[in-house]
Symmetry: C2
Subunit: 399 residues, 2 copies
C-alpha cells in the first residue's frame, strides 16, 4: 500500500514509518519539524542522539534497501496538504502530525492556542484534502485515551449503548479531556466523525494510551535510525521519565498520591497497532475507534516497578510524591476496553523486566546527556508555567 | 450589573444588549462587524434596514436615556480581548461573537476553517482573558441545540446519568453535531467545561434552538433601533425564511420531507433567557447547560403554519419539498428537555397567529428589498457551494 505518515519524524511517527516500510509498504513521510523546534524553545532535547530526517531515511535505504520519500511542510498550509495528497494519492494516511504534549498545551494562552489551532485546523485541512484528492484513502488518526478522562463507568471503544427513559441508542462515548491538548483530540474526533458521515470518508481513530520505550527492531539497526527519548516533564512520558530519574539518582517524581490509573503500551505495540489498522481498513462512511493500549497501571505502581528493576541493576532509586501540577482525580475507577486491536491480531509486549532493563540501560548510557533541571514539573494546570523555569539563557553544557 | 455583550451588533446580540440595558444593567458591546462584512461577501442583506452600531447606540440613548458603550475589535486579537476585559471588569460576559450559520460553514474548506478558527480560538482567548482579568465574571455563552443532533433517546440539559455494567456516572451528553459550525460549538462547550474545572470559572452554556422573529419591545421604539432580519438560505432561520417566501410568492422551500424536528423560540424569549441566566449566575467552578427553546416543531409543520397564516391575510402560499442540501435524518425521534429556564421564570411567547402576522407584514412591507435569488439553497453539505451561485458581479438592483 501507499502510506503517507504525517509527523513521521516524531517519537511514534518515525518508528511507525520504518515498521511499515519494512512490512513492504510504500511509505512517504511529511513533517514540519515542529517537534525539533520545540526542543529549541524548551531548551530540552532527546536523551538519545537523533539524526536529521534526511540522514535517517538515507540510513534506512542503506540498511534496508527501501526508500522513504520525504515531504517538508505544514498541515496548516492548504497548498502543501493539497499538493502532497494529490501527488501521493495514498491508500492510507497515518496522522501523527499534532502537538502531543498536555503540559506544553498548559504553559500559557499562547501554547494552548497554538495546540488547538495547529491540531484542529491541520486536521480539518487534511480532511478536505482527502475528500478532494484521496476519497478512498483510509485515515488512521492518533487520538488519545485521555479523551475519555476518568468516568466512573467502564470505558468502551468510542461508542456506548445508552438506555434512557425506555429508549436506546448507541452514541459517542462522553468525553472529559484533561488538558487543552486532550481537548484538541476530542475536537478532532468530532470533526472526523462528521467528515465520515457527510463525505463517506473512512477513518480509524486510535485512542492511544501512554507510550513507553524507544527502541523497535528497525530503529536499532543503525545508530542513525535511533528514535527520540524524551525524559523531561513536558514531553517525557511517565515511565521513560522514571527510568531516567532512576539512572541519574533523582527521586522518581510521582504527582500527588500516584493513584491515577491509565492505559499504557510499548512503542513496539504502537507501530504494530498502526499496521493492523492500516491493513484492516474502515469501511467508507465508517468512523471507528480502537482503544490502543495493552495494560493499565497506576502511576505509583509504575514507579515501584522501576525502583525494583533499578535495584536489581544495583541502582537505589527512591520515590517522591510531589504536589500534583495537574487537575485530575488521584483515586478513581478505571476500566477501559481494548479488545478490537487484539481481535485483529495484536500480540502485546507486556511491561516486564527486560524492557525496564533496556530503558534503564539507555538512561545510564546517556546519563551525561541528561539535564537535571529538566525533570521536575514546571507547568501547573492552574497557574501555567512557573516563571522561574523559563530559560532565557542558552542551555548549560551537559555535565 | 456590568455586562459585556460580545457580538452585540448581531441578530440576537443587539436586542439582548437593549433588553439588558432597559432592565437597568450597565451594558457594553464589543463587535468586529464580521456579520456585516459577510453581507458584503454573500451579496445579501437584512430584509429590514439596519443602522450602524454608532447610530444605534445614539438612538438608544435618545429614546431611553441609557448609555451603551461600544468596543470595536476581534476576539482573535489577544490585546483587544485583554484590554476590554481589564477595562470593563464585567460581572457577566454574554458571548454571541461567533460565526453562527451552518450553511456558511459548509460553503468550502476556507469557510469551515474560518468558522472553527474564529469561534474556537476567539472563545479560548476569552476564557484566558476572564481567568486573568475577571475571574469572578459569569460567562453566558451561546451554544446550540444542534450540538446534540438527533439521538434516539430523550435529550437532557447538557448532562446525562448513565448506568453501564452495574455502575453509574453523570456525564456530558454525547454530541452529534451536524455541520462544521455546530462542531465549533461542541468544541467550545468542551473547552469552557474544562476552564470551569481547572480555573473555577463560572459558565452557563445556552444550547439555543432556532430563533424566529425580529422585533422586541426595545427595537421597535425607533426605526434606527431595528434588528436585522435574514431571509436568505445561508443566514435566514427557517421560519423567517418561510414568511418572506410567502410574502413574495415563492414556494416555501422545505428540505426533503420536512420531518426534521427541532426546538424553536421567539427572539423575545432569547433576550429574556439571557437576562435570566445573567441574573441567576452559575457557581464558581460550575459549568451548566440550559436548553434554550420553548416549543418543538417539524419543518413541515412550520411551513403549514405559515401557509395558514398567509391565507388568512389573503396570500396564497405553497410548499415545495426540495432535495435536502444537508445530511440529516428527515424522520427521527426528538424529545429535548427544556425546564431549567422555565424554573428560573421564563414565560414563553409561543408561536401563534400574531407573531406570524407580524413577520408576514414585515416581509410584505419590505418585499421590494427582497432578492429573489437569495432564497433557494446554495450550499450542499456534500458538495459545498454550488458554483453557479457564486456572485462575481455587483448585486442586481432590487425589483
Amino acid at each position: 500500500m501507499r502510506i503517507l505518515v504525517l509527523g513521521g519524524d516524531g517519537y511514534c511517527g518515525w518508528p511507525t514509518a520504518l515498521h511499515l516500510s519494512e512490512a513492504g509498504h510504500d511509505v512517504a513521510i511529511a513533517d514540519n519539524f515542529a517537534r525539533r523546534q520545540i526542543d529549541h524553545e524548551l531548551g530540552a532535547g532527546s536523551l538519545t542522539a537523533i539524526f536529521d530526517l534526511r540522514e535517517r531515511v538515507k540510513a534506512w535505504r542503506e540498511v534496508s534497501g527501501r526508500r522513504i520519500e520525504v515531504e517538508v511542510g505544514d498541515l496548516l498550509e492548504w497548498d502543501f496538504v493539497a499538493e502532497v495528497m494529490e501527488r501521493h494519492r495514498p491508500d492510507a494516511v497515518v496522522h501523527f502530525a499534532e502537538q502531543r504534549s498536555a503540559p506544553y498545551s498548559m504553559i500559557d494562552r499562547r501554547h494552548a492556542v497554538y495546540t488547538q489551532h495547529n491540531n484542529v485546523i491541520g486536521n480539518l485541512n487534511l480532511l478536505f484534502a482527502m475528500k478532494e484528492f484521496a476519497p478512498d484513502a483510509h485515515l488512521v488518526k492518533l487520538g488519545t485515551m485521555g479523551e475519555y478522562g476518568t468516568p466512573n463507568i467502564d470505558i468502551e471503544e468510542g461508542f456506548i449503548e445508552i438506555e434512557h427513559n425506555g429508549r436506546r441508542d448507541t452514541l459517542p462515548f462522553p468525553k472529559q479531556p484533561g488538558s487543552f491538548y486532550h481537548l484538541s483530540k476530542v475536537h478532532d474526533s468530532h470533526n472526523i466523525h462528521f467528515a465520515c458521515k457527510i463525505w463517506e470518508l473512512r477513518a480509524t481513530d486510535l485512542h492511544q494510551g501512554v507510550v513507553y520505550g524507544t527502541v523497535t527492531p528497525q530503529t536499532e539497526r543503525d545508530v542513525r535510525l535511533a528514535n527520540r527519548f524524551d525524559y523531561e516533564d513536558v514531553f517525557g512520558t511517565v515511565l521513560n521519565r522514571f527510568c531516567v530519574q532512576a539512572a541519574i539518582g533523582h527521586p522518581l517524581t510521582v504527582y500527588g498520591t500516584g493513584g491515577q490509573t491509565r492505559g499504557f503500551l510499548d512503542i513496539r505495540d504502537t507501530v504494530r497497532c498502526i499496521e493492523l489498522a492500516v491493513e484492516n481498513p474502515a469501511e467508507h462512511g465508517e468512523f471507528r475507534v480502537f482503544n490502543q493500549f495493552t495494560e493499565e497501571f497506576s502511576v505509583e505502581r509504575l514507579a515501584e516497578l522501576v525502583v525494583e528493576a533499578a535495584y536489581k541493576m544495583g541502582i537505589e532509586a527512591s520515590i517522591e510524591n510531589v504536589p500534583n501540577p495537574r487537575v485530575e482525580l488521584e483515586e478513581h475507577y478505571y476500566n477501559a476496553k481494548h479488545t478490537r486491536l487484539l481481535v485483529l491480531g495484536l500480540e502485546p509486549h507486556y511491561l516486564g523486566d527486560s524492557l525496564l532493563d533496556s530503558l534503564l540501560n539507555i538512561a545510564v548510557e546517556n546519563r551525561e546527556r541528561v539535564d537535571m533541571d529538566a525533570v521536575a514539573p514546571k507547568v501547573d494546570w492552574r497557574k501555567g508555567r512557573r516563571k522561574d523555569t523559563i530559560r532565557t539563557e542558552p542551555e548549560p553544557s551537559p555535565v
